[in-house]
Amino acid sequence: MGEGDRAGVRQVWTEDELDHALTGLYLEIKTDQRGLVGVRENLVAAAEGQARPGLGLVGTGEGARRRRPLRRWLAAAAAVAALATGGVFAQPVLFSDRAATAQAREALTSAADVAARAGDPAVADGQYRYVATHAWWVRTTGAESESFSFLNENVIETWIPADPDGEWLRRRGETGNRKWVKGTEAEARAAGAVIEETPWPEQRADGGEFTEGAPEHGNWQFPKPEFLAGLPADPERLYERLRQDSGGGKRSLVYAADALRTGLMPAAARATLLRALTYLPGLDVTDGAADLDGHRGVALGISEGGERQEIILDPGTGEVMGERTVSDSMFAGVPKGTVTGYSSTTTAVVDGIGAKPTR
């Protein structure tokens, strides 16, 4: 039975079969909501208690009561904007329904040419490709009756061996750099809020399989050689594949950036993917001199749902330096052009697992 099973069991479900199984599982589990009546009574009693001074569960003063939540969000957005020191100069986006704008096509093609010419840095036996991502993410933490928000700097470092089937190493952690958006660190600590994350354990895994369930042959988020080998070599057909896999629009850019950021794509594949993006409708050069950690790059963005997703290319190397999300004019009253999320990626070749690049 062993051999037959091994050869035969790996049946792959279609999208429909998965959806049916999910719905089936939902319907299989019967639930009883009679307990909700009592829950509602308790809630309304608690809410009415809050309305009367002195009985409230929360000791909020008038100031807290009048605080406008929008202001908090604006403060978060402004704080991220302050991190991107160069600021953002939003330009009108000229939508084209068939491809990226001429400006974007030019930037992509020229970056692709540079990438293809530059080739890949050689990683000799025993050496490692080092990929580090710095990202500022908003974190909200709560104590009993208050919540606090801050921008938290995270660093994710990955060491990839010359032979990608060998042992990889990943370290992830907070740098301790924080920018407080709502409340202060002292207030949060006094209220008993948890600020530090539980430290992430160092991860080691053969072939980069850090999480259980990583796709066997890779995907856009983990572009293994066999995945890359299966992609079309023609840029237009590659775009079509990207569109289908991602769902299209802004997601196409997110998926392309996911793949480019890993450090797993050889120069030729990067160049083809950049050329494929010239077919992405609505993609435009949104900032000709975007500043990421003091390095200037060209931002290419696509707007959707009130927010613009950008990738930032280093014109000197054709590599993706980072990503940003930038608010669009329609987004919750946040000024157009405000940076609301930010990450940058650097790569290097190092001499040992866990070794940092020397600069």
């Binding site: 299989e28 909501q33 829950v39 809630l43 809410a47 009415e48 807290a64 369930g213 749902g305 919750a332």
Partner: protein, 201 residues
């Protein structure tokens, strides 16, 4: 039971989001509860059972009440806000949930198939029930964050943007997690329940 009779519907339509900081929290939260508690409870009960779901719904609305001044209707609807609070609270019950999925992988389908009349016990139906059982086993193997994204989408009927708001993660992360986890389930659901299959004989 009325809410579950309505099935896994998308919840109340998004119109005016409530002003939760108003002067009459009793009636505001009463309405908020009427609008959302049924579907939230159904979602939670399917993950951790009725009793824990009762507690979680209660805690979710009490946290919401305490944090109502920080609720920002301009940023997120009430629904993703509540599901986000509930998702945080649910993390305390991960082990219980995983045990539940493992147990379900062994029993779902087999007993229900018995209960059906012979006419409907077609091969197709049994195959579908096997898939449901296999899926339960595979859900046990997911990382909690991946399970949240999948089930908030599939069972909670939240859009990707709402899932992002609920979990406090970028929407791109929702897209890629959802994509990754669906792909993995499509190819690994049968493999992941291998042990359960053997156990059943």
């Amino acid at each position: 039971m009325t809410a579950s009779a309505a099935g896994p519907g998308p919840g109340p339509p998004h119109g005016e989001e409530p002003d939760l900081s108003g002067p009459d929290p009793g009636s505001v939260f009463g309405r908020l509860f009427d609008d959302h508690a049924g579907s939230l409870h159904a979602y939670l009960a399917r993950r951790v059972g009725d009793q824990t779901a009762d507690d979680l719904v209660s805690e979710t609305f009490l946290v919401a009440l305490q944090q109502r001044h920080t609720y920002d209707a301009a940023r997120a609807g009430a629904r993703p806000w509540l599901y986000g609070i509930a998702s945080n609270l649910l993390r305390r019950h991960v082990r219980q949930e995983v045990r539940g999925w493992r147990a379900r992988a062994r029993v779902v389908g087999s007993d229900r198939a018995q209960a059906e009349s012979p006419e409907v016990r077609t091969t197709e139906r049994i195959t579908a029930q096997q898939r449901v059982r296999q899926l339960a086993g595979a859900l046990a193997a997911l990382e909690p964050g991946d399970r949240d994204v999948l089930l908030l989408t599939s069972w909670g009927h939240l859009s990707s943007t709402e899932v992002a708001q609920a979990l406090g993660i970028p929407v791109g992360t929702v897209y890629s997690r959802l994509h990754r986890v669906r792909r993995w389930l499509q190819s690994h659901s049968s493999v992941a329940t291998g042990g359960a299959e053997d156990g059943d004989g």
